[in-house]
């Protein structure tokens, strides 16, 4: 297993995080250390073992579909880095 600098760059694009060259270099080395440590899981026999994503025996929790009050729009927008009227404002998406 080897995480090359190219892999780190590829993953950082998937994660939408811009990394500096220095960070890419550093992460490539450190992630290799961590993955080498994680490799030890390969020694366990997991045939017929079911996965545990969640420890509680509850799933598909539903509630009745009734309207409830929500936050006021000015409260929702008060933390926005940029807003206009009733909207969050973002850089131009469509050319």
């Amino acid at each position: 297993m080897n995480i090359s600098k190219e892999t780190v760059k590829y993953i950082s694009n998937l994660a939408r995080i811009e990394l500096t060259e220095e960070e890419i270099e550093k992460f490539s080395l450190q992630l290799n250390d961590i993955l080498r440590y994680i490799e030890q899981l390969k020694e366990i026999d997991i045939t017929n073992i079911s996965p545990t994503a969640h420890i509680l025996p509850i799933s598909n929790v539903k509630r009745s579909d009734e309207p409830r009050s929500s936050l006021k729009i000015d409260e929702v927008l008060k933390n926005a880095p940029q807003k206009e009227g009733l909207f969050f404002k973002v850089p131009k998406v469509i050319e």
């Binding site: 993953i11 998937l14 939408r16 811009e18 899981l41 509680l56 933390n79 880095p81 850089p91 998406v93």
Partner: protein
């Protein structure tokens, strides 16, 4: 010096009319003025208070809150640059409950950025320090909460625990910290790190306060679909000073290379104290213990990479203004550059690792395999709890380490949580209580674990030990 007291001691004093909650606030503030420049426990220190609803139970007693729990009156930033200035429009469920009972929300405590760390050093605001030795870390990620309580800059506090983030700092600072059973306390308003592992819990000066606080925050909440709808109990009633007949297991896998000698000796001494008090002991095996850290760093980073996708510079927090458009277009460039500058190193490292283990071609090898080993780790505990009421272990393999010592080697930092992570993976409750000191006067913590929703067993054990020893009464000289 009312700030040195526990919440239940203060409640008695206020009820009898000897002091008022204002007297308590004065003393807490004066302690903060005196020691906060050294400890740096707070990310957002207490505001001036104009009025308090001294409702029923808690009578205006102040509580410090970890900076990842949403509070209307205080910024909530997860000690991260990317949430700078975020002022939540709502309170977390635990905050609502505390207010209903008359608690005063009093300051937000420093933490590792997004709870990613075991030392409080990854905070955007800089590290908190251990009140017992200012050159050492308070532990993490709830290091600010533990340091505030240990230094009497807070009466008590809330933390959150994903892999040991309440218990390890409680251990390193010589206070009490409880991670409740997964599903016991609502996570609504807790900014998510790893949703299948996170729990909110108390950090206090004694076990009584932990039970008192758990009584308030525990219980079903229909805004958190993972909070379980079963009866809670009066945890104060679990505080019997008697453990005769209690069966306690000691797992041999926790007493291995890497365990500090003084910590090991202290736990063995604790065992003989508990034996004298009437508990019986047996060595057991939790055979998959050694895989817990590896499983955790796959699952926790995978969940984190998904949870932290919401920090994109659109709805709240930091946005990079001078966007270099490059080849990806203005919108995606804005995402990438805001996240690149807004997240600190450890957050980026974990998001990259989590994205990697979930990425196409690696999902089965890492994520799915880790979920299966998680099943085995949980089964180990199920087996032991068929026969035993509690398990005891050290909370941390070492006492508080030096600031900077593990920062450049992430794996060595991750191994700080080797004894605490399994409880999160299995969802079981676990508490850390003070059980000794090293020769260098650093606190040592005992971890007690019990079966899911059997907080009563670990509280009873913790309370009995505490009431027969004096470790929790020691105070640091700052």
């Amino acid at each position: 010096m009312l700030n040195t007291k526990t919440a239940h001691e203060l409640l008695d004093l206020i009820s009898s009319g000897e002091v008022s909650y204002e007297d308590v606030l004065v003393d807490v503030k004066s302690q903060i003025k005196k020691t906060e420049s050294k400890i740096k426990a707070y990310a957002h220190p207490p505001n001036n208070v104009e009025s308090v609803s001294q409702g029923s139970l808690l009578k205006g007693i102040p509580i410090a809150i970890k900076d990842n729990i949403c509070t209307k009156e205080y910024l909530t930033t997860c000690s991260s640059h990317i949430l700078e200035g975020f002022n939540p429009p709502y309170d977390a469920t635990v905050i609502e409950r505390l207010k209903e009972k008359g608690a005063l929300i009093f300051g937000k405590t420093n933490m590792d950025e997004f709870a990613f760390g075991s030392s409080c050093e990854t905070s955007f605001y800089g590290p908190s320090r251990n009140p017992w030795d200012l050159d050492r870390v308070p532990g993490g990620s709830s290091g600010g909460s533990a340091a505030a309580v240990a230094s009497d800059e807070a009466i008590w506090a809330l933390g959150s625990d994903t892999g040991g983030s309440i218990r390890q700092p409680a251990s390193l600072c010589g206070v009490v910290g409880l991670k409740p059973t997964y599903g016991r306390v609502s996570r609504y308003g807790l900014i998510a790190f790893a949703s299948s592992l996170d729990q909110i819990g108390p950090i206090t000066k004694d076990v009584y306060d932990t039970a008192l606080l758990l009584n308030i925050i525990a219980g079903h909440d229909n805004r958190d679909s993972t909070s379980i709808n079963i009866e809670t109990e009066d945890y104060l009633k679990c505080l019997e000073k008697d453990i005769k007949g209690l069966k306690i297991a000691i797992p041999k896998e926790y007493f291995i290379k890497g365990l500090d000698k003084e910590v090991g000796d202290s736990i063995r001494e604790t065992r003989s104290t508990l034996e004298k008090l009437g508990a019986s002991f047996k060595e057991v095996s939790l055979p998959h213990t050694k895989y817990a850290v590896a499983v955790y760093y796959i699952l926790a980073t995978a969940e984190a990479s998904s949870n932290l996708a919401r920090f994109d510079g659109v709805q709240y927090g930091f946005r990079e203004r001078n966007i270099d458009k490059k080849e990806t277009g203005p919108m995606i460039s804005m995402y990438k550059q805001s996240r690149g500058k807004g997240f600190g190193l450890e957050a980026k490292r974990r998001i990259i690792l989590g994205t990697y283990v979930l990425s196409s071609g690696y999902y089965d090898a890492y994520y799915l395999r880790a979920l299966k080993v998680r099943t085995l780790i949980k089964k180990d505990f199920d087996e032991v709890f068929k026969e035993f009421d509690c398990i005891i272990t050290p909370t941390s393999p070492t006492p508080a380490f030096k600031i900077g010592e593990r920062l450049e080697n992430p794996l060595s930092m991750y191994l700080s949580d080797i004894y605490t992570i399994s409880a999160n993976l299995s969802g079981i409750p676990a508490i850390s209580i003070p059980c000794g000191f090293t020769k260098g006067r650093l606190p040592i913590g005992l971890q007690i674990l019990s079966a899911p929703f059997k907080e009563r067993d670990l509280l009873r054990t913790a309370y009995t030990f505490e009431q027969n020893t004096d470790w929790h009464k020691a105070k640091p000289k700052i």
